[in-house]
Symmetry: C2
Subunit: 337 residues, 2 copies
DNA sequence: GAGGATTATGCACACGTTTGCATAAAAAAT
DNA sequence: ATTTTTTATGCAAACGTGTGCATAATCCTC
């Protein structure tokens, strides 16, 4: 009952040839006569011969597979990156092994182990928010497996990286807010151990300085989840010297911010401007539509995959770390003046 | 310079044993003395021996990998399903090979081929909107690879499936719309060759009949993209006998519908009620927040993966097709009365 | 027509495992 | 002391492929 797929050996037996001849015939080796080559290839075609990739992998110790670790799948930005990685990998004939750390350190460690055990050629990773220990990433490098970080890079590891131009994105956005008359601009960010947040904060501060606006501690908060938003934003609105603009670390926080601000009786953007980061689906369905900084996740995915594949195939040979910056673009909608 | 990972053979040589003994010692075979077993296992531990999964796969012709084909990654529902699949697969020690058809028939065919070539143990698939030819799916079955469809099933193929209870979700939603006083309820659906859309339409119609409301052709439209929404909805609002409720095939269309309706000067929900389907992120950020039918994508993913794995491991032995229905829940927010 | 160059094919091994069978050594039974 | 049983190990083959080397067959050249 078991239907065994046809192998080179089967073809050899059927045609009364040796497996080596068949193997060479299939790959068009010059030392094989035109006659037998055609014979073999036709027979293979007819019997739907498919090379066993497992055997091939074993022999070359290369399985044409790259592993991906994302902190969260159900997320516009990360799924965009994933789509980019997927497209690039597919066009280069690489398979994609997917892992999801779910923002948990333990699962991230386990994912790395899983991918190394699966003998992937390289790994694309974006770090979980809760990762403070980097040993597992170092293990990848120690195993001579290529590693490229995207977006959430790991500061303690010497590896290639592809990141959005967070600094410039933040600078441009805050510059725009200031240009349009906002003078008390708040920054709702993440924990400062994440380079992503830190870089944006620097862009934010530099833009303030450019406009001779004060950098106030009380207007810089860790607020990167909707739960935190519900708590932090009302407090800020209650103060006598309330912000007249919110620059948020992601679109979700911005959207909740918008709701809270409206519910508190302020008009957007007349009283308060709001700007998000990512430029995902939700920016177009809020009322008013959300101004946001486009991170070009799809492009980041493609770029990261391309860099990794170039490393794997020895096209990229730079000794040190390669860093790619994906440009960011401010997309102005109705939530800012 | 090349650091080759340590193998059973290496251990054997180092300990002056045969590879077979080492192999048995590692797996705790009873015919191996306690003494050598400990010796081997300790040596393996010290030298960080990792079994080569490629070799194992070749031997057993089983690579503990399942393939997934989704029509679109950047989509709340599908990424939710993916997350569910991922979690279930991981807990059962299966790897995930991911493909993205991007709603294109050709890429779907290619994805199937890719996965079969990779010798996956099974495939989870959701059909692209543009797929009308089913031969590639039949190939999976002919190759004796397990196949489970989720959500967008393929009507022409005899395979296991896990789907949302679309009929009941639609019925419940439309029933609720009617209960709350709507009498001219429009259905913005997909092409009727998709079972998903067809089942919902039947639920929609049955709910209308229950309330003795007429089923009008002009209130049933194909409108499953935001682009179509921009075109179709204004036309419907312009008619003298305009709908007083829109039941939409997904949240995106519902959100755009909401915008268009508001922009046309109608109040939501006082003049017109709007209901979406999926219950994704955006339902909470529109104004008013969107009533929607929760499809429980994550659960669907887990269920589909579990079913597939049960098939692979011979736990599920039913001869015919197994169909699982994932319950749907109406989540009432402010876009309906 | 004998030697050399060319062409086409096969043998054997390798990749890292697992496993049926044989076997050596030790222990037990007669 | 010899046979039988037990225990622990090794040999060899297998999974499906690719490749260096040997070799058989053909052709050319003088």
């Amino acid at each position: 009952m078991e239907k065994r797929p046809i192998t080179l050996k089967d073809i050899a037996k059927a045609l009364d040839l040796s497996t080596s001849t068949v193997s060479r015939a299939m790959r068009g080796h010059p030392a094989i006569s035109e006659e037998t080559r055609k014979l073999v290839q036709q027979y293979a075609e007819e019997h739907k011969y498919k090379p066993n990739t497992l055997a091939l992998s074993l022999r070359t110790n290369k399985n044409n597979t790259i592993g991906v670790i994302v902190p969260e799948i159900v997320h516009f930005f990360f799924s965009s990156v994933l789509a980019g990685i997927q497209d690039e990998a597919e066009s280069e004939n690489y398979h994609l092994l997917m892992c999801n750390s779910n923002e948990m350190y333990e699962r991230e460690v386990k994912s790395v182990q899983t991918l190394l055990d699966a003998r992937v050629c390289g790994i694309l990773a974006s770090m979980s928010k809760n990762t403070l220990e980097y040993r597992h990433f170092q293990n990848i490098i120690d195993d001579d497996v290529h590693l490229v970080f995207f977006d959430r890079i790991c500061p303690g590891i010497n590896a290639d990286k592809v990141v959005a131009d967070d600094y410039r994105g933040a600078f441009t956005a805050v510059d725009y807010l200031a240009e349009t008359g906002c003078s008390r601009i708040a920054f709702l960010g993440s924990d400062s151990h994440l380079p992503i947040s830190n870089n944006r904060r620097m862009g934010y501060e530099d833009a303030l300085r450019k406009h001779k606006l004060p950098v106030e501690k009380k207007w810089i908060k860790v607020c990167d989840t909707t739960a935190l938003a519900q708590q932090v934003i009302p407090e800020m609105l209650d103060e006598e010297n309330r912000p007249d603009a919110f620059f948020c670390i992601n679109d979700e926080v911005a959207a909740y911010c918008l709701q809270i601000v409206k519910a508190s009786g302020f008009r957007v953007p007349e009283d308060i401007s709001i700007c998000g980061f990512t430029n995902g689906y939700i920016t177009e369905v809020t009322d008013p539509a959300l101004t946001s900084v486009d991170q070009h996740g799809y492009e980041m995915g493609r770029e990261a995959a391309r860099l990794l594949i170039n490393r794997i195939e020895g096209v990229e040979t730079k000794k040190g770390v390669v860093s790619r910056l994906i440009k960011t673009d401010l997309v102005i909608r109705q939530s800012t003046r």
